[in-house]
Amino acid sequence: MRKKKKQKLNKESTAYFFLSPYLLLFTVFIIVPVIMAIILSFTSFDSVNFPKFTGLKNYITLFTTDSVFMQKVLPNTIKFSLIVGPLGYALSFLLAWMLAQIPHKPRTIYALIIYSPSLTSGVAMTVIWKVLFNGDQTGYLNSVLLNLGIIREPIQWLQSTDYLMPVMMLVALWSSMGVGFLAMLAGVLNINQELYEAGYIDGISNRFQEIMYITIPSMKPQMLFGAVMAVVNTFQTGAIGVSLSGANPTPQYAGQLMLNHIEDYGFLRYEMGYAAAISVVLLLIIYISSKVIYRLLGEKE
């Protein structure tokens, strides 16, 4: 009995031996920051003096007096996420589904082309978009549109309150066919042929039914993984407005998303307590999105 217990303990300690480096880094750089954000969000902190407890003041300010947040940042974030997230996700699935129906060689080439924009994700490579969307007539898009006679004067794409957001969405969608897309492609390809045959016998009579009753249910785990990646990607690319327009805040806050608002308050105004409250709200939004997705796509318990 005692020997068995010792053996068990021994086993646990080897498990923790393998787990501990990850656990340590995960705790220090993911869990602790989240907890700190929550704590700081109840304080006033200028990064020099010790944080002062202020209760719910930051949250009250955020939702009642911060008109930029309520009128620009929050609506922008919701609009951006609701369009880029679901649309990018639906596109990844449809592209994966179509790719699965062409032969291997061309599939590999197409998949590579469609995937490669996601390799440029990150702030650094947005510089190239600035050239394409340059505001005067030497900008490529302007030049093409002027030549075709669609517009008469060059458009200040990245400084315009009307166009900055659509450009951001376009760039985000363009680079959103990443890991999630690859997972879904693998998912479609791995569905057992017999499931389809069985489906036809059961009376499935068109492509739409086939997708809804066979394809998607058979690759639910990949659909879920893809959805999770779509959420991460959407909120992660949330900072491109600033790198595209070259300014934080973006022109008249047209492309201001929550990540930029956090940076604005945290690193430009040094109101770190307030910035932390925005972080907490953002984390909550991400958390709720994840709950919704798991509810929709998770395996029924």
Partner: protein, 290 residues
């Protein structure tokens, strides 16, 4: 009754029913590929073609001028390009390597070991799949400061090592390895680290390749450490340098150099992906969240 699509999944050869897919996919591929092609063409345009009005998409007389200027420019500033590039290579190399070791260790424990907190750890990690590090940039900054990594090369590496997606993919893959294999090795007297090295690592290659790509991409493209944690110019990375290149606005010369620098950033990502794409697809088959 005509057969439906299922029987046409993963076809071995071309059939005219695929034409519609080819048409749509070609259109999408053109849209996705054009900006990439634009970067490549722009990078090789000589100065007079960059200035040309109206701007031309294709390059007539490709030249390496932009690359040369890029290197010269950095030579005249205090920090030479080689330094930025070396910093990027070194930090990315170490980050990828350590991420692999740490995630494979943890994946092995979570997949094949029994311990009390296992389900909790797994659930927290699954939740963290959605974690967006930038959301907590301020506390992360304070912690990096607290552990003394501000203005240290280590700031490029340590804050980026815990990668929930990496652990998740590796764990899913190790789940496929039969327990009998490990038990047999244990009976033969193999030590834990031997089992890890001789069984787990070779059989997890695909997942490791995938995590290599993801970690490489994240680290290589990242500007966070250089913007937030490090103020010493000589410790910053190439990606950071690129992000500062075109802040000057409509500078045409800058455009060419930015394109050249973007290309230098893009190519390693692409090469690594092409080299490992088979393994990636094998990993993705097991990527589902159950």
């Amino acid at each position: 009754m005509a057969k439906l699509g299922g029987s046409r999944m993963n076809p071995t050869r071309f059939h005219k029913s695929q034409i519609k897919f080819f048409i749509i996919l070609t259109a999408v591929a053109v849209f996705m590929g054009l900006p990439i092609l634009f970067i490549i063409l722009q990078a090789f345009k000589p100065i007079d073609e960059l200035f040309a009005y109206p701007p031309k998409f294709f390059v007539k007389n490709p030249s390496l001028g932009n690359f040369k200027k890029l290197f010269q420019l950095m030579d005249t500033s205090n920090v030479p390009i080689s330094r930025y590039f070396f910093n990027s290579l070194l930090s990315t190399g170490i980050t990828v390597l350590l991420t692999l070791v740490i995630s494979a260790f943890a994946g092995y424990a979570l997949s094949k070991k029994k311990f009390r907190t296992k389900t909790v750890v797994m659930e927290i990690n699954n939740l963290a799949l959605m974690f967006v590090p930038a959301a907590v940039m301020i506390p992360k900054y304070l912690i990096t400061y607290g552990v003394g990594m501000i203005d240290s090369f280590l700031a490029h590496i340590f804050p980026a090592l815990a990668m929930p997606v990496g652990l998740f993919l590796i764990k899913q893959f190790i789940d496929q390895i039969p327990n009998e294999l490990i038990e047999a090795a244990q009976i033969d007297g193999a030590k834990e680290l031997q089992i890890f090295r001789n069984i787990i690592i070779p059989m997890t290659r695909s997942a490791l390749a995938t995590v290599t790509i993801l970690a490489f991409q994240a680290s290589w493209n990242s500007v966070d450490a250089s913007t937030m944690y490090i103020s010493k110019e000589k410790l910053k990375t190439f990606s950071f340098y690129l992000s500062t290149l075109t802040t000057t606005g409509n500078d045409v010369v800058g455009q060419g150099m930015a394109a050249a620098a973007t290309l230098i950033m893009f190519v390693p990502n692409l090469v690594i992906f092409i080299l490992m794409q088979k393994q990636v697809m094998a990993t993705m088959a097991h990527s589902g969240i159950k």
